[in-house]
Structure formats: structure tokens, C-alpha cells
């Protein structure tokens, strides 16, 4: 089997695995929402299947992984069938000319992502390296992660992305980094499908497709083979699902959002920070139900986050930011706060986009701003976490900012762009709710 076919088969398998999981969570999911969440759940679930096999000391083989995934598939299918279908069904989405633009963006990204074998430094020093080492070991190689010579590979980073690469390698029959840009395309497409479905719930097809097209270049990560693409997809989908849940009070959206955030926490440490930011946002934003009840609805996220946290504690995997005394470094840098912040502003990625977003927030009516308070707050908290990490970094601060700040800001860009876009569109009174069109409220 050639590499590209194996990779496409693996991605298709993950979608198929994710369909019953999506339906077990949301019996009404159809169209873009079903397709998008299916790949997200499929890739997330597969990483947990491989993690579980590794913890059970069962060497990864394609047959063993397939059988384990089939067990998940069957269990989810039974749950989905048992779920009452109900009477309400969402109407099919109406395509517009802007959807063609989104497809063109994804096609262009797929061509870029498959130009050659992956070339990003972080791919072969972190994400691809771990995947390749684990594949050789037939499971997670704790000796490699614990070795003091391998701290450069950030052993504490969660493993959803390397484990996805390993699944593809198993389908391929061996390691090849030639087509590993394709899962990044699939994660981006999944996020855009979710965005399209969520936007259609609250605005016209034209604006829903336009906001999806606007988000398309933000959903595609230029850091191919790294965890950015998966984090943007899971984190973006999670924040937007929780935003919709806070608006509609829909328990299905709460479950979707919490699970997506849990998987985001399994992509990168920034995903863990995002879950904390969302928890604060959920506690503060909204009025009904009570804050504690809202936070309880995030339990699937905490449940998904816990295994890796326990494993990295058990294996004492070091975190570079936490090495030495982060607090003393943070305090020592406080007197240079204005210089550091100026440096961050100077090296902001896509500064004109951020300026447009900021302007949009300022000129929108106060009521619209309040209605998007959750996403704005989560974005602000997450950015504060990033800035705090720079103040506490044990590395050279300028080097750390230059090598990570664009990536970090790109992670938070999709949800805030979505929120500000819809806030402005609704302020023009051109958006129309589709609640009357049969969507659940």
C-alpha cells in the first residue's frame, strides 16, 4: 500500500470510528457537524486506545489496535442506537459561494502540506521523533521520555498527535513522514465543518459560510507535523461548543465542548491551560444554571485530561517552564514588564488582524460585547497565561518569544475571530437566528 493511500485509509478509519461516538453524544448530529466531530472524536479515541494498550504492556500491532478500536466502535454504536431519536431534526445546510472558497483554502493547504516529507524542526525534534521512537518500541517508550538526554523533546507534552502518527504508521506498515501533513489537513477541515454548523445555528447561510471562509486560514497551521493543528481544532471546537452551550443551554453542546477541550488538553500543555481558562470563563460568564453546576458539566474534559497528568507525574517527566524556581524568575522580570510587553506587541503575528479584532470589539454595541463575554474572557485569560509563561521561562526570553509567540497567538485566533465576526454581523442586524428552522434551543 503506498504511503498516501495508507494515510487516507487511516484518516477515513478515524472518521468511521468517530461516527458512532458522535451519535452516542448527539443523536441529531448530521452533515458537517457529524463529519467534523467524527474525525475529532475518532482521532481522540484512537490516541486513548493506543495509550491504553501501551499501559497494558500490549505491543502495538495493526490487528490489536483495530480490534481494540472495534470494541470502542461497537460500544459507541450500542449507546447511539439506545439513545432516543426524538422528533427534532436539523435542516440541511444551504451551501453558498463562500463555501467554495473554504474548499479552495483546504485544497491549497493540502497541496502545501504534502509538498515533501515534513520539514518543521519541531516535527522531527518533538512530535515526529516521539511517534517514530514509540513505533520502534511498539508502545510508549517511557525510558526514552525519562532519559535526561531527551528533555529537548519535551517529554511532558501530551501524546495525542504522536499516537495519531503511530496509528497511521501501523496502517502504512512502517514509518514514513512523507504524508504526515494530511492529518493536519483533516483536523483543520474538521474544525471548519464544526464552525460552519455552529454558525448556521445563529446566522444566515451567507454569513455562516463567510465566517467559515474567514476562519479557514486560521484553522490551517503552518507548523506541519506539530500539535498546533490538532490543538487549534480541538480547542477551537471546544470553546465554540461551550459558547453555544452557554447561549442555548443545550446539554449536548456541553458534552461536545467538554470532550473537545479534554482532547485539546491531550494535544499540548496549552490545551491544559485552555481548559483552566474555559473553566474560569464558564464560572464567570452566564447566569443559569449556577456556576458550580456549569463547571460540573465540564467533567468529561477533566476526566480526559487526568490519565496523562497522572502518567507524567508517575514517570516524573520534567516541564521546562516549571524547572528551578519559576516564581522567582517571574518576579525578577517584573521590573522589565513594559519592555517585555512591548517586545510581544512588536512581534505579534498578524498584527493587522488583531487590530481589526480589537477595533471590532470596541465599536460593537455593549450588549453584543456582553453576549460574547465568554469567548473574549477565555481569550484574554489564555493570552495572560502565555505572557506569564514568558515571564517565568528558564530560557532566553527573546528566543522563547520569537520561536513560540506566533504559534501561541494562532491557537487562540479562531474562536475570538468567530465571536467578533458574529458579534459585528448581528449588530448589523443581517444575521438571523435559525432557531425557527428547527434547531434545538
Amino acid at each position: 500500500m503506498t504511503g498516501i493511500i495508507a494515510t487516507l485509509v487511516a484518516i477515513l478509519s478515524l472518521i468511521v470510528l468517530g461516527i458512532p461516538i458522535t451519535l452516542a453524544i448527539d443523536r441529531h448530529a448530521r452533515g458537517p457537524l457529524l463529519l467534523g466531530t467524527s474525525f475529532l472524536y475518532g482521532s481522540g479515541a484512537m490516541s486513548f486506545v493506543m495509550l491504553a494498550l501501551s499501559i497494558a504492556h500490549l505491543r502495538w500491532t495493526l490487528i490489536r489496535v483495530t480490534v481494540s478500536a472495534l470494541v470502542v466502535f461497537c460500544a459507541a454504536s450500542i449507546l447511539a442506537v439506545k439513545k432516543p431519536a426524538g422528533a427534532q431534526r436539523p435542516q440541511p445546510l444551504k451551501a453558498t459561494i463562500f463555501d467554495a472558497g473554504t474548499v479552495l483554502t483546504l485544497t491549497a493547504y493540502a497541496l502545501y502540506a504534502t509538498l515533501k516529507s515534513l520539514w518543521d524542526w519541531d516535527f522531527w525534534a518533538i512530535w515526529g521523533l516521539k511517534a517514530r521512537v514509540f513505533l520502534e518500541a511498539g508502545g510508549i517508550d517511557w525510558r526514552f521520555l525519562e532519559s535526561r538526554w531527551n528533555t529537548f523533546a519535551h517529554p511532558d507534552y501530551p501524546l495525542l498527535v504522536p499516537l495519531t502518527f503511530d496509528f497511521i504508521a501501523l496502517v502504512n506498515g512502517g514509518w514514513s513522514d512523507r504524508w504526515l501533513g494530511l492529518p493536519g489537513v483533516a483536523w483543520a477541515a474538521a474544525l471548519l465543518l464544526v464552525v460552519r454548523a455552529l454558525a448556521s445555528r445563529e446566522t444566515s447561510p451567507l454569513f455562516a459560510s463567510l465566517v467559515t471562509l474567514t476562519l479557514a486560514p486560521l484553522a490551517v497551521s503552518s507548523h506541519l507535523g506539530c500539535a498546533e493543528g490538532a490543538l487549534i481544532a480541538f480547542g477551537g471546537a471546544g470553546v465554540l461548543m461551550i459558547r453555544a452551550a452557554l447561549r442555548d443551554g443545550d446539554p449536548v453542546l456541553w458534552r461536545h465542548g467538554a470532550l473537545m477541550l479534554g482532547f485539546a488538553a491531550n494535544c499540548k500543555n496549552e490545551g491544559l491551560a485552555l481548559l483552566v481558562a474555559v473553566s474560569i470563563g464558564v464560572a464567570v460568564a452566564g447566569s443559569r444554571p449556577r456556576a458550580t453546576a456549569r463547571l460540573r458539566r465540564l467533567w468529561p474534559a477533566y476526566a480526559l485530561m487526568t490519565p496523562w497528568l497522572l502518567l507524567r507525574l508517575t514517570h516524573m517527566l520534567p516541564t521546562d517552564i516549571a524547572s528551578g524556581s519559576p516564581l522567582s524568575r517571574l518576579i525578577a522580570r517584573l521590573p522589565q514588564a513594559h519592555e517585555i510587553l512591548a517586545f510581544l506587541v512588536m512581534h505579534l503575528h498578524e498584527p493587522w488582524l488583531w487590530l481589526a479584532i480589537l477595533t471590532g470589539i470596541l465599536i460593537a454595541p455593549a450588549a453584543s460585547r456582553r453576549s460574547e463575554g465568554f469567548v473574549l474572557l477565555v481569550t484574554a485569560i489564555q493570552l495572560c497565561f502565555y505572557v506569564a509563561a514568558y515571564f517565568a521561562t528558564p530560557h532566553d526570553l527573546h528566543w522563547h518569544v520569537l520561536t513560540s509567540w506566533p504559534r501561541l497567538t494562532s491557537q487562540v485566533a479562531p474562536p475570538v475571530t468567530f465571536a467578533v465576526f458574529l458579534m459585528l454581523a448581528k449588530s448589523l442586524n443581517v444575521g438571523r437566528t435559525l432557531q425557527s428552522n428547527g434547531f434545538r434551543t
Partner: protein, 144 residues
Amino acid sequence: MTLRRALIVIALAAIVAMCIDPRLLLMPFVDRAPYARALEGYPDRQWPLYPRFLEGVHAHTRPGDTIALIVPAMRWDNGYLYAYYRACYFLAGREVLPLVDPQNNKLQQNFRNARYVAVFGVTLRTPADVVWKGEGGRLLRLRR
């Protein structure tokens, strides 16, 4: 149209315009071969033979083997970092032992503990058997 509505329209248009990436959108309509050629050797542009040398080392060693690494740049930030990280990727399953740490301290114990020494781009004078030679380097088994 009120001033606020006009500003909102401008802000919306600005957000859409700022998000569009013309270079990406042109990708299906341009000759991608030059891009592919540029990216092909991008990670190893300083030492083009190095990946093939590491593949040779991989082929002549077994999982679990310990391999120390000697390259022309033996200072961490001056090339050893790249050489070591790259070796870890290509020699997955083997244990690559660095001979220099990030502070440029020499790690003699790693040289002593290694079963093999992969020497790329330089000559090493030490009692050792040549296991494999090619692609600008040699794989040596140290005599104990």
C-alpha cells in the same frame, strides 16, 4: 447608515481581508516543484549527506544499541544540537548519546558507555573497528 454601522462594516471587511492568505490560495495554480525542491533539503541544508549517513547507521545497528555522535561542529549551539536531534530522529529505537551538553561541557562518560561511535565529516583516531563506511562518515565499534 449611521457612523457605527459604517465602522462595523469596515471592521468586518477588515477581519475578512486580514484573514485571507493569497500565497496559500495561489498554491493550486502555481508550479509547486521549486517549493518542493527548496523544502526537500531544508532541514539538512548545511550537511546534505547527514540524513543518508544516519540511515546507514540505522541499517547497521540494532534496537537498543547505544551510539555516541561525533560531527564537525562539537559546540551545542553551533551545530551539535542539530546533529544530535537529527540523529535521535533517524536512529529511533537506538539510544543516541550526546558528547556535549547545552553548556558545551564534554560528556566523556557517554563516549565510554557507547557501543558504537557514529563519526560524520571528521576523522577519529581511536582504537575501533569500522562497522560501516559511507555517506561522508563511519560507524565505529570501540575496542574495549
